[in-house]
């Protein structure tokens, strides 16, 4: 046996699994056919956040006039922007490479495919291992009629390279997390951005009130949102890309012209080239390789983690599952038993949530109480010049048990730490309300939302 564990894919799921397995004393290999770090570090979480930060600094410079700070002519060096972003990616992927070395993980370069349930081929070599962890991730879903050429019509990977000049008119097809993050970037960079979404609401999965507040702020910032709208086809002409849009409700069609079209209509699991059939691993109709709470597939010594294992396709879920798989293989009592998996849209304001939405809680039969505290009443938000948003808490009425927290606002993702821990600890709104939160912080709004559940928030009237 060449290795105790062979991990396929070095995205967040795979590299967390590999490192934890090595920490636990196992002999570990990790195969990767593209770049260490996977989608997340190379063309996902990290480069988008870099661009979002840059875009937000442009907006911040504009708002600085409110307190008397003004600037002369502003210049954006697009090549430098792309280079800076790439530098961060390189630093992080280089870091993962260094961690592989330091943890004595064998990095197998190339595409891995199963020969049988105990053997994997990478390049022209075959390797045996006691356990395998499939962490092959996902790729952008395609939309018929809109062929991605990564120039005018791009997917999330193409959209990461900011063109020079910035497109004047930008269409984002898909009003999910990824679509809005890019729309926010391009809007701040100066594009006129329209987002279309097939469903009646953007950011499916988030709390309806939170989505409403979020969409209001995006609209105020200049992003046009059209729900229940689809894009049928796109054609490049001299004056731009002609896109046929259709109202889902009325069937009415019209053509609009854009300079760049982003297709962001979801992601699908990736198992091409992996030849899992040779190992007898079950793949669902939709291409997922499902796993149990220990991340085991139908074949007991083959594990599946991350995007390929199922929804939600989020890096922190992949990481958790990677750690669980590694620990289980090392004989530890690990399980993916999380009460809730947080979600974040890293725009400004951010939209961040963890746990049940009000509607989900009701659908599950909970008797629900909610408490909401608007950031317009937060002193800290005022000093940060960012008062759009609120904290909303969903609580089981009889027991006061926290069920979900939904935040629109600056640093919302940082406030999720408390909310997530509270859910995992089985905390009540009272536990949060009785905990001293530093003043003046955005976290006080979490406290006030908990107080609002009991109609005892201090800085608003409780009705």
């Amino acid at each position: 046996m060449d290795f105790d564990v062979l991990v396929i894919g070095a995205g967040p799921g795979g590299y967390h699994a590999a490192i934890r397995a090595a920490q636990l004393g196992l002999r570990v290999a990790c195969a990767e056919r593209e770049a260490v770090g996977g989608v997340c570090l190379n063309v996902g979480c990290i480069p988008t956040k870099a661009l979002l930060h840059a875009g937000e600094q442009i907006a911040a410079a504009r708002h600085a006039a409110d307190f008397g700070l003004t600037f002369g002519e502003q210049k954006m060096d697009i090549a430098k922007l792309n280079g800076w972003k790439d530098g961060i990616v390189k630093k992080l992927t280089g870091g993962v490479g260094a961690l592989f070395k330091a943890n004595k993980i064998t990095h197998l370069i190339g595409e891995a495919s199963f020969v049988d349930a105990h053997t994997v081929k990478v390049g022209d070599k075959t390797y045996t291992a006691g356990s395998f962890i499939i962490a092959t991730g996902s790729e952008p879903a395609k939309l018929p009629g809109l062929d991605v050429n990564q120039v005018e019509i791009v997917d999330s990977t193409g959209a990461l390279v900011m063109p020079d000049p910035v497109p004047a008119r930008m269409l984002c097809v898909g009003g999910g997390v990824i679509g809005f993050e890019f729309s926010h970037v391009y809007n701040n960079m100066g594009s006129q951005v329209k987002v279309i979404e097939f469903l009646p609401n953007v950011i499916p999965g988030a709390d309806a009130d939170a989505v409403k507040e979020f969409a209001k702020s995006m609209t105020k910032q200049g992003i046009k949102i059209e729900t229940q709208t689809k894009a049928n086809r796109a054609e490049k002409k001299a004056d731009g890309i002609h896109v046929e849009l259709e109202s889902v409700k009325t069937g009415e069609k019209r053509t609009e012209i854009f300079d760049r079209v982003l297709v962001a209509v979801g992601r699908r699991p990736r198992t091409d080239g992996l030849n899992v059939a040779a190992a007898g691993v079950h793949v669902t109709d939709r291409g997922f390789i499902p796993a149990d709470q220990q991340q085991r597939t139908n074949i007991a010594h083959i594990y599946s983690v991350g995007d390929v294992a199922g929804n939600p396709m989020l890096a922190h879920k992949a990481m958790k599952e990677g750690l669980v798989a590694a620990e289980v293989i090392a004989g530890k009592p690990a399980a993916q038993d999380a009460v809730a998996i947080p979600g974040v849209v890293y725009t400004s304001p951010e939209l961040a949530w963890v746990g049940l939405t009000e509607q989900e809680a009701k659908d599950k039969g909970y008797k629900v109480k909610t408490g909401t505290f608007p950031l317009s009443a937060s002193g800290r938000a005022m000093t940060l010049q960012q008062t759009d948003g609120f904290v909303k808490m969903v609580v089981e009425a009889d027991t006061d048990l926290l069920l979900g927290v939904h935040i629109v606002g600056p640093h919302a993702s940082d406030l999720l730490g408390e909310a997530g821990l509270a859910l995992e600890m089985g905390a009540t709104a009272t536990d949060i309300a009785l905990t001293i939160h530093a003043h003046p912080t955005l976290g006080e709004s979490v406290l006030e939302a908990a107080e609002a559940v009991h109609k005892q928030a201090i800085h608003i009237m409780n009705r």
């Binding site: 009460v339 049940l356 599950k364 909970y366 089981e396 009889d398 027991t399 006061d400 048990l401 069920l403 600890m425 089985g426 905390a427 009540t428 009272t430 536990d431 009785l434 905990t435």
Partner: protein, 85 residues
């Protein structure tokens, strides 16, 4: 009759209890030091306090049990949080 549970006391004298349990104990006149916590390190949660009160109520009041004879203890409407499925 059940005996008073032996409650581990920490060396630092701290009684580990979540804020809501501390408040409920005050409300019910329960001495937290007498409550057996079910969490890690003997951490007392709300349901530990209510279980303690119910246990005490099942036993006829004795002078040794300050809980049952606490003057301020109202008829408790005992919340019992359950982790969501």
């Amino acid at each position: 009759a059940p005996t008073q549970p032996t409650v581990q006391t920490r060396e630092d004298g701290r009684i580990l209890a979540v804020p809501a349990a501390r408040q409920l104990a005050r409300e019910l006149g329960v001495d937290l030091a007498q409550v057996q916590g079910s969490g890690p390190n003997g951490r007392v949660r709300v349901h530990d306090v209510t279980a303690h009160v119910e246990g005490a109520r099942a036993v006829p009041p004795q002078s040794a049990q300050p809980v049952a004879s606490a003057p301020a203890a109202p008829q408790p409407q005992v919340p019992q949080p359950q982790a969501p499925a």
